[in-house]
Amino acid sequence: MVLFALRRLNLLLFTLLMLSVVAFSLNYFFPGSAIVNITGLVNATDAQLASYEKLYRMDQSVFFQYLAYLRELFNGNMGVSMSTQNPISEELITYLPATIELSLAALLLAMIFGVPLGFIAAIFHNKVTDKAILSVAMVGYSLPVFWLALILILVFSITLSWFPSSGQLNLLFEIEQVTGFKLIDILLSDSPYRWQAFQDALEHLVLPAITVAIAPMTIFIRLARTSMLEVLESNYIKAARAKGLSNIKIIYHHGIRNALVRIIRDMGLQFANLMTLAMIAEVIFDWQGAGSWLIDSIFQRDYTAIQGGLIALATFTFFINILADFIYASLNPVERYTRHATR
């Protein structure tokens, strides 16, 4: 396990290093001078810029510039946004939690519905139920997320008016931002109306979460189906059947547990996919998260914000990937030896 952990952490380190090289080189790819792109100070005087050039060692070779850039990055200094002139790190702290909240809610939805449906499909393999679930999964997998969002708004908020169509919380509620996670903030606040606010926030969450969850859910259906089918083929299931256990007992005691382990392996990869979908959903549902912030900054040519968003979102997905790997390895001892550790 230690060797496995070291290998994975090594890979993470390498990955993050690569990412920082890419982010650093962006300063030269973006139009404009490199020092302005790094710091984001578009209105700075020459004297100010000169002092920053010294900080980032712009007079030395590219390698030392990169080291200086890394040092500032580790100090949490990502420059200021070109459009608002606020520090990028502060903006990220405000916007990133909303994206994570939306993604986690969607992940939860996708797993709660996707995994059991996949199991059901596997249990009724090659029967009508299986085929119906698979066709639904195929359609769900092919749905363009932005179109799904529009249809959901049209049906549930305009025609039926069950759920609000945009925003995170009704403007009537005044909730102070502590963690950035709306639901946690509401519970932490001492407002007398916090339970109403909580309910309101949940209602705002429903449509975006469903939008983001559909495509990953279909992937979970397929994953759960394949892994359950593989498990049901294996010898220990045959042994259990030979012992005379009923089908329900076999699936409940042996099938589900062993099949679930394999799904966790792919959860990390799905989370990356989910974050991208969340970015688009944020734009449509006017959700104040890192995704809509990043897309806005592309329109405003806010290069420091693009860079910061890239670093933050990518680092976050990498961490989730590694986390999923660790959970998987700790649940499934076989994998520790076959995967990255021995090869």
């Binding site: 390498f14 690569m18 363009p144 932005f146 529009l150 990356a272 890239l310």
Partner: protein
């Protein structure tokens, strides 16, 4: 006319022919292939069969509902948008933009990816290990996020979107080619031409490529469904095709503020994207299914 069999001989169809023989036995897959070919034809010849021009405004016919509606007009079968442009014509011409361009992008990415993948499969040591690490990094990023970032560097526009999506797809092809070649190299039949003195390149072209092409094609269908969705998504976000072009994603974005009074302007382009993606996915699924059947036999 089939060839007369004079000698009793066993014929071994090539791997790609075998794939086709099993593929054509599933009706759903054949239907999907038929629709796929239809979409390709629409993408090529679409501009010749449209009833109206995709850009032409008819100011007397603003927001005409589809023909089956009471207020509809049969000469505008699927209605018009807020500038009086015929929806059917726009959708047909959009086929060449969203669907046709996605094929082009995938083909370019496939050629470059297979070339780099083959080179990397033949090299060993530090270079190859660096490449795999690099691929791991790129592959763990969601394709749309990468495309958005590349568009951010290049600036918005349809050409830049195509570059971005192509660049994003290349690593997938490198990865799959490299792994497939490595896998084939372990097998016995590759050893025979090597013992005959064939060069590595010749072994690759004559022995390995025919046996991995099915995997690459399957990857291509997956890549294409992602490419369609990405082109449309970037168009929808306003980073891709300009508003005037009938690209399905940007058509949808145009209809955002209309979709309560004229829902057909938003559900029709969405349906078009959905159908294109489903058809591509079904073809890919059919191929994968027949490959699996082959392995089992």
């Amino acid at each position: 006319m089939p060839r007369d069999k004079i000698y009793i001989e066993e014929e071994f169809p090539s791997p790609i022919l075998q794939l086709w023989l099993t593929f054509k036995r599933t009706p759903v897959a054949i239907w999907a292939l038929f629709c796929y070919v239809l979409l390709v034809l629409l993408a090529i010849f679409g501009s010749f069969i449209t009833p109206h021009s995709a850009m032409e405004n008819n100011l007397d016919m603003l927001l005409t509902p589809p023909a089956w509606n009471a207020d509809g007009d049969i000469s505008y079968l699927l209605g018009t948008d807020d500038l009086g442009r015929d929806m059917l014509s726009r959708l047909i011409q959009g086929t060449s933009l969203t669907f046709g361009l996605s094929i082009l992008v995938v083909v370019c990415a496939l050629i470059i990816g297979v070339l780099i993948g083959s080179v990397s499969a033949l090299t060993r040591g530090v270079k190859a290990s660096l490449l795999t690490h690099f691929l791991d990094v790129v592959l763990s990023m969601p394709s749309l996020l990468l495309a958005i970032i590349i568009v951010a560097i290049l600036g918005p526009g349809l050409t830049n979107v195509l570059w971005a999506i192509g660049l994003v797809l290349i690593p997938q092809f490198i990865h799959i080619t490299r792994n497939a070649i490595k896998e084939e190299q372990q097998k016995g039949y590759v050893l025979i031409p090597i013992l005959d003195g064939a060069s590595e390149l010749r072994v690759l072209v004559t022995s390995i490529y025919p046996n991995i092409i099915d995997k690459i094609i399957i990857q291509a269908t997956l890549a294409q469904s992602a490419a369609i969705l990405d082109i449309a998504a970037l168009g929808f976000l306003g980073l891709g095709a300009p508003v005037a072009l009938p690209e399905w994603g940007s058509m949808l974005a145009n209809s955002l503020d209309l979709f309560y009074i004229a829902p057909w302007t938003s559900y029709l382009p969405g349906l078009a994207i959905l159908i294109a993606v489903i058809v591509t996915n079904l073809v890919g699924e059919g191929l994968r299914h027949s490959l699996k059947l082959q392995k089992e036999n």
